[in-house]
């Protein structure tokens, strides 16, 4: 079968009504390439012109028609998508494989294989195209078939269950009442003895006596408030260790947890 004239295609093509026979060639061609959904679509259209049954088409003739078409489009300097050129290259190769007999040991797919593949793809596309038409011809919801026009809504009664118990309620109340009188029992900030403070106080208390005395008795006046005990003892003890290291005082403890004795170091004073 010879290469079809482009005017013939348009005359037969139901899809391209816009392309009149009297339209300028360039424009017609441009419109036409745009009208196809890719190279496979174009091939399918070419095949349809050849034969109605895809099983009996001549793949070689089809390839030639396609290549001819692309060649003419390119001569008119019309830009075409890369997809079409890739297909053209593949078809050119297919054509060569079909025309040259296969050499034994050739690893490449045979021309016949390639032709069969192309035929398969064309058939598959055509089948899907037919399927989409059949699908759209189904009785469609909202077109020929209807659902309930006035569905009766489900009436959801929402109940809120509050997670509140009496304790939470009372706590909120007492907290609120106490919040109102917060000024009345505002206490001073908690006392914290710094090491520096403790050392100053310790130095003053130990004085010049030079007699052994229990550590606690020096601090007795500061240990009255129970909440102060820890900080007074800890800071004073740390400060006392520092004083021992400097050689200013001596400390003694005869048994574990026994009273801690402390005095100013006499020799120290003598030396001074």
């Amino acid at each position: 079968m010879g290469v079809a004239d482009e005017q013939d295609w348009f005359a037969q093509d139901p899809q391209t009504e816009r392309a009149g026979a009297d339209a300028p060639d360039a424009e017609v061609l441009y419109v036409d390439v745009e009208g196809f959904e890719g190279p496979l679509d174009l091939l399918l259209e070419l095949a349809r012109r050849q034969k109605l049954d895809l099983a009996n088409i001549s793949v070689l003739a089809l390839a030639e028609q396609y290549l001819e078409f692309i060649e003419r489009v390119r001569k008119k300097r019309i830009e075409i998508a890369a997809d079409y050129l890739v297909m053209a290259a593949w078809l050119a190769y297919l054509k060569s494989r079909l025309m040259v007999p296969q050499v034994p040991g050739d690893e490449e797919p045979s021309g016949e294989m390639m032709a069969a593949l192309l035929q398969f793809r064309l058939k598959r596309l055509e089948a899907m195209r037919r399927a989409s038409e059949q699908l759209m011809n189904r009785p469609r919801l909202g077109v020929q078939v209807f659902g309930r026009g006035d569905p009766e809504p489900v009436d959801i009664a929402r109940h809120q269950v509050w997670k509140v118990d009496l304790f939470a309620l009372l706590k909120a109340y007492t907290g609120l009442r106490e919040r109102g009188i917060v000024v009345d029992y505002a206490l001073g900030a908690r006392t914290v003895w710094s090491l520096k403070e403790a050392r100053k106080i310790l130095e003053r208390l130990i004085g010049e006596e030079g007699e052994w005395a229990a550590f606690d008795t020096y601090l007795a006046q500061y240990l009255v408030e129970p909440e102060d005990r820890a900080t007074v003892l800890a800071s004073s003890f740390s400060a006392s260790l520092e004083l021992v290291r400097e050689g200013q005082i001596e400390m003694r403890q005869s048994l574990t947890f026994g009273p801690l004795l402390i005095r100013r170091r006499k020799s120290d004073k003598r030396n001074a």
Partner: protein
């Protein structure tokens, strides 16, 4: 629904198989019933006989057909009902419960709501201004609404003071929820101190009031049904029976 286009009418009459003598009439009737069924099912609104007629065979007795259809559905799960001069399918009345669902969600209450509730519980009857004074914060409208919606707080009446403010109190549901036999079961000052909820360093003049939820007090007037504030609560979707 759109009326059928002109083409349908002839096609429709042709489609009816009229073979037997009187069978043709029965077939036409059956078909008319099917058409009514489909139309009424698919319509988003009840349809009048005038709207239905164009879809039926020439000269069909639409009222009689509708009554037949109503009869046919009388024992089914859906019924054909007449609404004014229009017709519609509706769920059978006794199956209405199928379309109702209960949904419960557990939520915890904000501190503001809890405090307000506690104030109302202890200080009732209490006005909004008094609540705000105790809390030291202006109360959002939402807090009271929420407590009324929960069914724990109600409007009691109006205080006989300038401005006639609404007085609030707690409800039976409140007692129920907190497992209190009466408001007298709310712990007083000493019990609160004993449980450690109140510290001992309270000013001597601080008092925990004795809650009162009895009848209207001398300084309270009853609420009228058409009281604007009652209506306002109702319109905000509050409890239908605030005094329940």
């Amino acid at each position: 629904m759109n009326h059928p286009n002109g083409q349908n009418r002839p096609e429709q009459s042709k489609n009816v198989k009229s073979v037997k003598d009187s069978g043709g009439g029965a077939d036409i009737r059956a078909r008319n019933l099917r058409v009514l069924e489909a139309l009424l099912f698919a319509s988003s609104e009840p349809m009048s006989t005038a709207e239905l007629i164009p879809f039926l065979s020439e000269g069909a007795a639409v009222e009689a057909l509708l009554t037949d259809l109503q009869e046919a559905y009388s024992t089914r799960g859906v019924s054909l009902v007449q609404r004014g001069d229009k017709w519609a399918f509706r769920t059978a009345q006794d199956l209405g419960f199928l379309l109702r669902r209960e949904q419960t969600e557990t939520r915890s209450m904000s501190r503001a709501a809890l405090e307000t509730l506690a104030i109302i519980a202890y200080h009732q009857p209490v006005t909004r201004a008094e609540m705000e004074e105790i809390r030291g914060v202006a109360a959002g409208r939402g807090t009271l609404d929420l407590l009324m919606e929960a069914g724990w707080v109600r409007m009691r009446g109006r205080r006989r003071t300038p401005g006639r403010p609404v007085t609030y109190g707690t409800t039976e549901d409140f007692l129920d929820h907190f497992s209190l036999e009466s408001l007298g079961d709310l712990p007083g000052m000493e019990e609160l101190k004993g449980s450690g909820l109140l510290s001992n360093r309270l000013p001597a003049d601080m008092q925990i009031p004795l809650p009162y939820d009895g009848d209207l007090r001398d300084d309270e007037d009853a609420l009228e049904d058409d009281d604007p504030e009652v209506l306002a609560v109702l319109s905000r979707g509050g409890p239908a029976k605030p005094s329940e």
